[in-house]
Amino acid sequence: MLFKQNTVPVAPLMGFPGAQLSGTTIKENLEDAATQVESLKSLYERYSPAAMFTMMDLTLEAEALGLRLLKPEDASYTVLEHPIEKEADLLKLKIPNPAKDARMPMVLDVVKRMHESFACLNIAYIVGPYTLAGLLNGASRVIKNVLKKPEFLKELLEITTIVIEEYAQALINAGADALCILEPTATLLSPAQFDEFSGVYVKRITDKCKAPVILHICGNTTRIINNMVLTKVDGLSLDSMVNFAEVKEMIPENMILMGNLDPVSMIAYGEKDVVKKNIRELLGVMKDKKNFVLSTGCDLPKDADLDNIQLMFELAKEKSWEE
């Protein structure tokens, strides 16, 4: 198992609240390794979580593939163009070299410093194959192409899978203990479409990867959880719309299940009493599950209530697995 503790491990998907603590902008953190690590360190020291994550950035691999980004001062980056529309465009794509292309070396440096400074599990994010295909092809198109141009889409997925595999290997070499694949776009697919256009590639990345892999998909994934399990990843991280009481039996005992407090209306901005009640309910639902890790369903915003985050750690200590 990834986590070894007597109480429920707590590992919120947090990075940006570290920028709040360090008084830096999101952009400063996404451009500079020292700044990012300083922010993460303030989170690590404040909470001692079971795992630390790099700052979430879905544009990292796309930028290394040459796409232009919108880089706001204090918000997540987004991709500005989706130039891969047809087969001929695939030739434009050059597999990035993680040691030198775009901000990949910066993240490798972050991971290296995390490995040196944090005694917890250090997890690096990588984008999912279908989600990266969506950034390259355009989100609307990548969804329609499941039906309209499946052959083209699969050729694109072959490329995104290789990009991710190479970057994943570099992250592991830099010191990442585990990787977390972010595959939000796949939440829009049917179970069969998920298997065909995401699951099979996620499995390939996981098989090749020499470190444990957690698969994170935002939104209501209830319909595809069985298919996510089939990818044989080491853990699933699920969003707040999923009812853990209903799905917990679907996850095998040797697969971590992380989640799934509402990051925004609950942890970031919720009233203390409501947040407490919510956390206790979830701990209650999951009390018989040793593969459970208390976390947020998705990334916490920068201005999240730091005391609410603390509540996750305090309340998790109330329960012991040894009861």
């Binding site: 918000a75 609307s140 499941v146 309209k148 829009l188 925004v264 209306s265 916490l300």
Partner: protein, 207 residues
């Protein structure tokens, strides 16, 4: 299969060009508002199937494209008085957010149901939302946000409406993956809908 059934079939299959061509050929002999009614009904049925998990977003999106292609052919044939009664809805994804699919489907469903939809696209500033709504005499402003990091922008637009003392002129609706009923209440929106079909029902109730 008659021509109308064939048209519905092509729309469901997402055969955009064929559907538009067929619409072109049958529109002289059919009441255009009848064609739109039939397609709206089709969209509603597909919406139910979508909500029940019988079809998924890929099917819905290719169908919407075909539906829009047919609407573009049929709309100019509608009598002018039919078009003027339309309520105007201004839609957009908030500043910093480039996710448009959900918002686009909301637009399609509203359009198919007779609303005049002005889609401002992605990363729309508070000023742009408000200026366009004022200029076009809109009655509804719809904002989408797919990221926890951009949803705060929805509040900024509402606050700006309040500041300009024009909040009462609009029904403001919000949506997007991280958005909830609770959030809508908190920021003072008039409503939240989970998906495009619920958004249409919401707009109907609000007006």
């Amino acid at each position: 299969m008659n021509e109308m059934d064939r048209l519905v079939q092509l729309v469901i299959e997402g055969e955009e060009e064929e559907a538009a061509a067929l619409a072109e050929s049958i529109v002289p002999d059919h009441d255009p508002s009848r064609i739109i009614d039939v397609l709206t009904e089709t969209m509603r049925e597909m919406g139910d199937k979508f909500e029940d998990g019988e079809i998924f977003l890929p099917e819905l999106l290719i169908m919407s494209d075909a539906l829009m292609a047919v609407m573009d052919v049929v709309e100019p044939h509608l009598r002018a008085d039919k078009r003027q009664e339309q309520v105007t809805v201004v839609l957009g994804s908030v500043l910093g957010d480039v996710h448009e699919i959900g918002k686009n489907i909301v637009g399609i469903v509203l359009k198919a149901n007779g609303y005049n939809v002005i889609d401002l696209g992605a990363s729309v500033s508070a000023d742009d939302f408000i200026n366009k709504a004022e200029e076009k005499n809109a009655r509804v402003i719809g904002m989408s946000s797919l990221m926890t990091t951009t949803m705060g922008q929805q509040k900024k637009v509402i606050d700006a409406l309040v500041e300009k003392k024009i909040r009462h002129k609009y029904r403001v609706i919000v949506g997007g993956a991280p958005i909830s009923e609770r959030w809508a209440e908190e920021i003072g929106a008039d409503g939240y809908a989970e998906d495009a079909f619920k958004a249409f029902k919401l707009v109907k109730t609000l007006l």
